[in-house]
Every structure is written in structure tokens, then in C-alpha cells.
Amino acid sequence: MRNNLPTFSFKRNFMLAIETKNLIKEFDGLKAVDNISLEVKEGEIFGLLGPNGAGKTTTIKILVTLLTPTKGEAKVWGFDILKQKDEVRNSIGIVFQEPALDNRLTGYENLDFHARLYGLDKETRKKRIEEVLSLVELQDKADVLVINYSGGMQRRLEIARGLMHYPKVLFLDEPTLGLDPQTRHRIWDYVLQLNQKEKTTIILTTHYMEEADYLCQRIGIIDFGKIVALDTPQNLKNILGGDVISIEAFPPQKAFEVLKTYSWVKKINQHNGIIDLNVDQGENKIPLLIEKDQKEVGFVIKSVNLRKPTLEDVFLHFTGKTIREAEASSIEKQKRMRQRFRR
């Protein structure tokens, strides 16, 4: 392990684990990452939330030195990602979105390979492999070839590997993508555990709202390569204020026109035939909706649903679409791009 000190000291009394300024990455003139500036504090669990194709993975790849940004600068653990690559690499651990294991080696051998690359000595290697294997409960599979692991086991092994060299900052790119709910919850537990036990700063990307909500202390919402909002999950939800009333009404257009005019409706959104109203004290507002004369207002209410705002509502608020809709449109965009570049 090298003990080079960061090139500059911070005036703040906490350390910044990540700092990016106007980061831009272009692929063939298209901006995958568009002017991203963000700061992540030491010890934080920070989430980048956005649909597939929003630029999360590209941002991560830049931060872990796998891609060079087109413009802008970034520091990880105080080290410049362009000028101090080795120091950055030494400070971080990564769990990639797609598997990055050698499946012709056993679980143990994958960890040992990693530990040697990061210069751990023999005793530390042995001790640490035991530790991380027991954290992800894979001790009894240590000597099995990775090719025989299930998807969930592979992901857990990758998390274990990401922790091997005591990284200061751990990047998790869609850590629970494609996993069953049980495994997902277990992985969430590991993530919280190692944030608390090992004081690891964690940056994760996800397009699962509940994952971001459950794990992250702060969230950056990312859409088309831009950070559109950044705050704690609670503050993000508070932006919308109060409650959300979701209404199914017929005819929807008429209902939308009328509801828009009510003074107690703070914000109104329509998507997939559902109308969302942001209101204060929602439980008192439902009677107001119901007691209106149907003939007078010109629409029929078919169902009403009251809830606290979720990150889904926040996403909708900032991007004008739900994350699923955003995903569909970005997949469309990718398809079109691919066709354009196909020779």
C-alpha cells in the first residue's frame, strides 16, 4: 500500500470522498454525461438514481479510471482521476454491473488474485478472505469454481472482492440488478453493515426507487446525463410536500382540467391515465373530491388512492415522466443510436 497524501487539503472539517466539476463524456458527439458536478462526503452512502441509459455507469467508469472524461475534472479520495490513477485505484473498490469474475477459478482464487494485485501480504490475504467470505456467507462455497455459482452468489462474491483491500470508497453499479427479492434484501444488509462496520463510503447506482430510498443518505437523480436533483431522500420527498392523491377519473382530460383549478392542489401530474395531486393533509381532501356533484364537474371518479410521496413521485416531478417511461424512451433512443452507427 502506498501512503501518498492527497495533493491538497480541504478547508472543511470533513473529507470529500468524491468531488466532480462539470464532468462531460461524449460518445460520437452525444453527451452521455452532461456537466455533472457533485460532492460525496466521507462515510456517506450516496446514490445515483436514474433510468437505464441515463449516464450512471459512464459516470462511475470515469470515477474508477476506466474511461477518460471529455471535459471536466474529478477527484476520488482527494486524488485526481487523470493524474493520480494509481492512488485512485488504490483507494477504491468496485462491483460492476456485469459480472467481472474469472469463472474458471474458484471463489477463493478470485479473492486471492485480487488481494495479490492490491499488494496484501500473505497473512492479511488469508485473514481478509475469511472475513469477507463470512460477511457474504460464502465460506462453504470458497473452493467451488465460480462457473457453478448462481447469479446471486456471483454478485455476493463480487461484493466480497470489492471489499478485500479495505477500500475507502466502494462503487456499486446496480448491485441488485436481476436478483430475486430475498437476495436483494440480503445485499442491502451487507451494504449497510459495511458502511457502519468498516466505515466505507459507498457510491451506488440504481434504477430501483426502493433501493435508493432504503440505502442512501443522499440521492442524485440523473436523467439524460444531467443531475436534475440532489438531496436526502426525505428532503426530496418534502419538495413535493404533504401527500399524493392518485385518481382514476373519466373522462381523464376533463378531470385534469377541472382539478387543476382547485386552490388546494399544489401540483398536478398526469401519466398513464392516472392523475397525481400533490396536496397537504390528503385525508381531509378526499371528501372534498368525493362530495362534488358529478354533473357539475363533468367527470366521474373511479378510484382514489392516498399515499406519502415516494421517490417515484420525485422522479416524475423533476423529469415529467415515471422512471419506467424514461427507461422505455431511453431504450428507444439507444436502439435508434445503435441503428445509426451500424455499418
Partner: protein, 256 residues
């Protein structure tokens, strides 16, 4: 830092060894083709047939074996180099690329691993050919042959890494084999002396680095060659150093 470089080379080598020892079918697969060549051509051309350009008294099997060893080294080294591409495909390359280690150490480790497995295959072919009736001149010749095998291995792994670094996926793999590896093999004089090529083809054969590898092997193993041993050695050394440099430079610029 220095010890970490050695550790990197070692761990890359260790990984290659483990994978090699586990893939028994791969070993048989790569040995079977050179063995068939030896068996079919060596025995077919052997009786009462004197090869133009070769000195009288050298039987064809003895002439062929160094060429086939060169071929074995070429193919196994190229595939060891191009295996970077498989790592890219299966994602493992990312794990290697984000590690805080010198790119050159990664390449040297890969070369060390690839050369070891290629040498094992080359020596196995040599041993098999002894059973078919191949006769080496002496033991020091064998040592020289090992040196040439080593140089061929290093050069073409470097070359393979260089090519793989510039390729996006494994789709171009068979194209590389057919348009680069086979011509290198066929032009190297593995089957007959390069002087037998027509005049327009001969310069190209002289540009083929494997020509000097095969010639060096032939010189070491059966005491017949077209160029002086030192010339073979110098040309291969230069080519090898160039390929390591090119391979690690292109490898360090890969973005994944």
C-alpha cells in the same frame, strides 16, 4: 512498488497456469493439429523424396519437426495474447484494469503465463516427434531450441495482445486467424525452405518474423539453416521487444 510489480506478474502467470491445467481438452485440442501434420506429412514425404533446397541426407521428418514446433508456438502464443479479448468479453478485464498496478506488469505477467503454456506444448510436440523418429543433433541444440521457442512465444503473445487491444469483441477472432496467423505460418518456411518461394513472394517471407524463428529452431535442432544463428536471434529479439512495447502501449490505451 517494485515487489508489487513482481507480484502482479506472478499472479497473472499463476492464473494462466490454473486455467491451463484445468482445461485439459484445450491442451489436447491444440496439440492434435501439429501432431497430425507431423504424422501425415512427415511420414508421407519421408521415403525416398528429396526436398529441393534442403541439403541431401536430411530426411523430411527431421526438416519438418522444427517448423511444426514453430507453428505450435505461433498458434498457442497468438491465442494466449488474444485471450485479452475473452477477458474483455467476460468482464474480467475490468477487474484487472482498475487494479493499482502497472500496465506493463500485467502484460509481462500475461506473457509469462502464455509463454509457459506455449513452451509446454512445444516441448510436448518435440517429445512426440521423437517417437515418430525425429533425431536431434545434440543436447545443447535442445537448449538453443528452447531459447528460440521462448522468443517466438514472447513476440507473438505481444503481437496478440496488441491486436486484441484494438478489437471491440471476439467476432473478428477467426478473421485474425485466417488473415494474419495462417499467412505468418505458411510463409515461415515451416514446410519447405523459403528459397523455394517464387521471387515475388520471397521478400514477404523474409519480412515474416516466424521465418527466423523456424530457421533458428532448425539450426538448433538439426544443424541446418539458411541464415546464421546470430542473425535469427537478433531479428527475433528486436521483434520481441517491439511487440512487448506495442502490446503494452496499445493495452494501456484500451477503454472499457
Amino acid at each position: 512498488m517494485k515487489s508489487n510489480n513482481l507480484q502482479t506478474i506472478y499472479v497473472m502467470w499463476l492464473r494462466e497456469m490454473k486455467r491451463f491445467l484445468r482445461a485439459k481438452s484445450r491442451l489436447i485440442g491444440t496439440l492434435i493439429m501439429p501432431f497430425f501434420f507431423l504424422l501425415a506429412m512427415g511420414s508421407g514425404f519421408n521415403s525416398g523424396f528429396s526436398l529441393p533446397g534442403a541439403p541431401p541426407g536430411v530426411n523430411y521428418l527431421n526438416f519438418l519437426v522444427p517448423g511444426i514446433i514453430g507453428m505450435t508456438m505461433l498458434f498457442s502464443s497468438m491465442s494466449a495474447g488474444i485471450s485479452v479479448l475473452w477477458d474483455k468479453e467476460f468482464g474480467f478485464l475490468k477487474e484487472i484494469m482498475v487494479a493499482p498496478v502497472r500496465r506493463l506488469a500485467i502484460i509481462l505477467g500475461r506473457i509469462a503465463g502464455g509463454v509457459t503454456t506455449a513452451l509446454i506444448q512445444g516441448v510436448l510436440i518435440l517429445i512426440l516427434s521423437l517417437f515418430l523418429g525425429f533425431k536431434m543433433v545434440n543436447l545443447s541444440g535442445f537448449i538453443w531450441a528452447l531459447l528460440f521457442m521462448l522468443l517466438i512465444g514472447i513476440s507473438f503473445i505481444g503481437f496478440g495482445v496488441a491486436i486484441a487491444s484494438k478489437m471491440e469483441d471476439t467476432q473478428g477472432f477467426s478473421l485474425i486467424m485466417q488473415f494474419i496467423v495462417f499467412p505468418i505460418f505458411l510463409l515461415s518456411g515451416a514446410f519447405f525452405p523459403v528459397t523455394n518461394f517464387p521471387g515475388w513472394l520471397r521478400p514477404i517471407a523474409y519480412l515474416d518474423p516466424l521465418t527466423y524463428g523456424v530457421d533458428g529452431l532448425r539450426s538448433s535442432l538439426i544443424g541446418f539453416s539458411q541464415f546464421p544463428l546470430t542473425l535469427d536471434l537478433i531479428i527475433l529479439l528486436i521483434f520481441g521487444v517491439l511487440m512487448i512495447a506495442l502490446g503494452s502501449w496499445l493495452f494501456s490505451t484500451t477503454e472499457i
